[in-house]
Symmetry: C2
């Protein structure tokens, strides 16, 4: 396993590039490897022969594209290494550990007091990781990496750029705080960017290198994926879809502007409006249940949110013209109740296909595979698999 | 020259990759070539030695980065090949020919009747190219390529996707029409995408691989550039900034929606409003002159347009977080009169840098270098240099 970790860590060597490409995709043909590593076919072939001899790469199932020779799929020997992903929630922390075949081998969570600090979290995460790694027969330092999903934009250097959901995390240098406790490479990213990596690796966007993810949960976030890369922009703060400005005279937003998409379509806003109407305090989970049960007032709130969601997505489509939108978050779990209204307003706010160009279609709008917090914790694992958002050496 | 054309055309061979990379950038160090071609350092070195021996690549000026060894810059022998760019205007066609050192060796235009067809244009372009190529001592078939800039989105296959400025061009298959007349590779793209290539190659975005261009002219268009690549989206129709939907109850747009950015900030709209107020018919050029001369009503129209322009750009910044915006088109030629109001409203409609993260700045907003039609005709040349938007074999 040590040997594998060394190969994996070498970003320049052909063997390192090959195993990291397989790690990101899961199972892959030699032809795909040539394309995604940019290495010569002969180099890939030599490297693969060696990795197969050493038991690091396994030849898996064959796949036929209908005609022609079936393709041999390659995957990493699952037991050669493990990655951990951590999700920081409001009052709990969730941890998942995956092997190299992308199988979750451990998934647990523990409670934290409200307003816990990153330092407290780092200590608890270390203790829990030690316990779980012990069961797997490895040391935490042997993990290929630990991915941290944070509900805020994270800079390239690992600084949390705002503290909307976890105020005590605002401005924190994650690399510094977590590298004191955890002795393996650390990766950190915005939870919506993690969600996009999860959908690329296990979910609705497998095989689609270009898509946009919109997450409608308590807040609104998302990710722009181009050529298989989650775009982070100049400072790590791209795809802040919750702050698409829809009305200069709209409700004040926590970002200091008015009429941001989140002030209309964020779950916090829906709960607040529901509470104002009923006088009863409710959670987002209760709200979603009642919408599903047919509560007319709550359904109206969801339709109003979908109208603004469709508008924001329509603008995004005009700017990027992606072939696919993936919708995630708790509102997406409402399925058609949310999506039908969203699609109608999407069409009114995006350039429609011209009648004379039949091959041009509106982008596909799909509900994501991971709608609860699964997307985020698995996405944090995917940070390590894709070598994305690395903040320590 | 035949020999060079063959090397240039070979997309797979290392020599072809090297000369195309030099062609796109103009003058380049060996280190940059390794990075941009993805080839091994030793391969680049071998190829360069051969190309220098054959007189195809020249060693140019040396550049020192302050410390360390000065860097030798490489460029293509200018006389090894020529590229042509064509811009289709309302009543005229402009043609530019460049050598491989990016020097314009020929720049001319000819009038066409209103509503001229693509077929008429193709015949006239061929005749004029024959005449100019004759002066350069080459046949048109020896051109490395001809780039066509069209004032509408163009699909990957070369179909014009709408006909807003040139109605008779709507739905036309450019590859088919022009390959009948012109016997060399043909490239075709939206004029704003061409403008971005011109700014990358000669203008405000040299050395900046990530930027967004907004063009405010009679219409509103633009381009999204990520890692040096102009993004075309699913069907060639990305960056249709004129159709960013800002108001569901706003003025009807030619695209079938309401309140698109172009209905507020497009030059057509400004002229129309000016005409309504004065009863006098004016051109966009006259309008711009009078704004510069201080006409208060016209200035107000420009400020109102800048307000909406800043809003559209602010949303784009929230979605993509680019380090640089380049502003082009006739409104950009107004400089501060337009930009000051635009920047103010940009700030009100984009996520502002958090106070605790000092390294995060608002994106730079620069006026482009090419504000008249130069951007477009040079951008059409750059289509060939960058091998972008190719529609024929």
């Amino acid at each position: 396993m040590h040997e594998f970790k060394e190969i994996f860590a070498d970003r320049e060597a052909p063997a390192g590039r090959v195993v990291r490409a397989i790690a990101a995709i899961g199972s892959v043909s030699a032809t795909q490897l040539v394309k995604s590593t940019g290495l010569a076919r002969s180099t890939v072939s030599t490297v693969l022969t060696d990795l197969k001899d050493r038991g690091i790469v396994l030849e898996g199932e064959t796949r036929s594209a209908g005609f022609g020779r079936p393709t041999q799929l390659l995957s990493l020997n699952p037991t050669q290494g493990f990655c951990a992903g951590i999700l920081f929630g409001l009052g709990e922390v969730r941890v998942a550990i995956c092997d190299l075949a992308h199988t979750v081998v451990s998934d647990f969570w523990f409670e934290m007091p409200q307003d816990y600090t990153p330092s407290d979290a780092a200590v608890r995460v270390r203790l829990q990781l030690e316990e779980e790694c012990d069961k797997l027969g490895i040391a935490t330092s042997e993990l290929l990496g630990v991915g941290l999903a944070v509900s805020a934009p994270v800079s390239y250097e690992g600084q949390v750029l705002n503290g909307s959901i976890l105020p005590t995390w605002c401005g924190i240098d994650i690399a510094q705080v977590f590298s004191r406790e955890i002795d393996c490479p650390i990766f950190a990213e915005n939870e919506s960017h993690c969600g996009a990596l999860a959908e690329m690796t296990w979910g609705a966007a497998v095989g689609e290198p270009n898509f946009v993810l919109f997450k409608f949960d308590l807040g609104v976030g998302g990710a722009v994926v181009i050529n298989g890369i989650v775009q982070r922009g100049a400072f790590g703060n791209a795809a802040e879809f919750g702050h698409i400005s829809l009305n200069p005279h709209g409700p004040l937003c926590r970002c200091g502007n008015r009429g941001c998409l989140e002030t209309y379509a964020g779950g916090f806003n829906l709960i607040r409006l529901a509470e104002q109407a009923t006088g009863e305090r409710i959670s987002i989970e209760t709200f979603i249940e009642r919408v599903k049960a047919g509560n007319a007032s709550y359904r109206r709130l969801v339709e109003d949110a979908a109208e603004m969601a469709g508008w924001g997505m329509g603008i995004t489509s005009t700017i990027l013209s992606p072939p696919l939108f993936v919708i995630a978050g708790k509102l997406a779990s409402l399925g058609e109740i949310f999506i039908t209204a969203l699609e109608k307003h999407f069409a009114r706010h995006s350039v429609q296909p011209p009648p004379h160009a039949r091959h041009i279609r509106n982008p596909k709008i799909m509900v994501g595979k991971f709608l609860a917090n699964d997307d985020t914790v698995l996405g944090a694992v995917a940070l390590v698999l894709h070598q994305h958002g690395r903040v320590t050496a």
